[in-house]
Symmetry: C2
Subunit: 221 residues, 2 copies
């Protein structure tokens, strides 16, 4: 059976969890706190970071490598598109959220509020938090733009682009930092994600003594 | 003909330039300063970021999407590995440099020294610069570790893993921030990269009124 080392609030782990479920693959979830710097975990991944996937004798580290691996090894249910154009567009949107959104929003909010303390990197910067909250709005507008003529971000099929965007947004939503009501189209898209069985388990996690807002796991929010 | 929108000191653009040359593909290089926020460029890539590749009617944005696209569209000379295990390992190392090295080193040095000014983000932070320079050492040790039994980072063939690592290191080397002499094995590996014809053009660029150190483009440094 597949084994995924993860930490609950990491968007990069949440994406893989959702992908595994959507691909209908059984897997064991192993909680790993990378800030504890466990020696055995460094042996699996010298970067000391989650997610790490173990598939029999194979160990795959880094979320992009894991996604591509799962698509190659288990192609029956694919989420990276069928044509070369679709794949380029899906990977572009994945890049948007894992790089741009991550830099402009996730690092400014999740890193500052949660991980800085765990990694002993000092106090949250109020300047970073303000920037993160300011930046999130135009990303929600971009989701609205991408879904103006389609149900999902890269057309009419759920893809890894949606999973990536939802994984980032869900961690910020856990912290109460997404103003969905100001972005009705993005909210509609996210309601579809929340109603996927593959996303339910992720939303059930309660972690690190933090309580999410009341709407957090409700698909009718 | 392929057309690549780039900016000379971006490691994400340098990687694509090297890949295009190694794949023996002709391309036109278009200089784009993303901090000028050109409207026509946003029409090509709403993220407003380089690299962007135009291949006939197809536009591909984000370096990961471009690499995967080039490997799919032009598979004759491949740099992502042959077996599924090789691909997972090459993508893991790409992830290491594009995410971990980028966060721990490139953003702390290149972003602080060069891009912060261009994007009008304020003064460089001396704390970030110190962290970047401190962090670079263990990444060079990791290159030495990966190449202890092989010529290249992921075995005995040049791959996108090497191009990614070299792209990041070369921009820092341009700024004079790599202490090669303290890392002889990493230096040996980088000398191999510097002697590739695909890397020569990149090292010939002179940009933004900045002068690189004397050893910068010399393969015998």
């Amino acid at each position: 059976m597949l084994k995924l080392y993860h930490t609950p609030l990491s968007p990069f782990c949440r994406k893989i969890r959702m992908l595994l479920k959507e691909k209908d693959l059984a897997f064991e979830l192993v909680n790993e706190n990378p800030w504890e710097r466990r020696r055995e975990f460094f042996a699996l991944n010298p970067a000391g970071e989650v997610p790490v996937l173990v598939d029999g004798r194979r160990t795959i580290a880094h979320s992009t490598a894991i996604c591509e691996y799962l698509e190659e090894a288990y192609p029956e249910l694919g989420f990276l598109g069928e044509s070369i154009e679709e794949r380029a567009e899906i990977r572009r949107i994945i890049g948007w959220f894992d790089t741009k959104f991550n830099f402009e929003v996730t690092e400014n909010i999740l890193f500052e509020k949660v991980y800085k303390r765990l990694w002993s990197y000092g106090e949250p910067s109020s300047e970073a938090l303000r920037a993160g909250k300011r930046n999130i709005a135009y990303h929600l507008d971009y989701i609205a733009y991408l879904t103006q003529d389609s149900q999902w971000l890269a057309g009419n099929r759920l893809s890894l682009a949606d999973m990536t965007a939802a994984a980032h947004l869900s961690t910020l939503d856990y912290l109460g930092d997404v103003n969905w009501d100001a972005h009705p189209r993005a909210k509609e898209w996210y309601a579809l994600i929340k109603s996927r069985p593959s996303f339910r388990n992720i939303l059930m996690d309660r972690v690190m003594g933090l309580k999410p807002p009341a709407h957090y796991e409700n698909p009718d929010f």
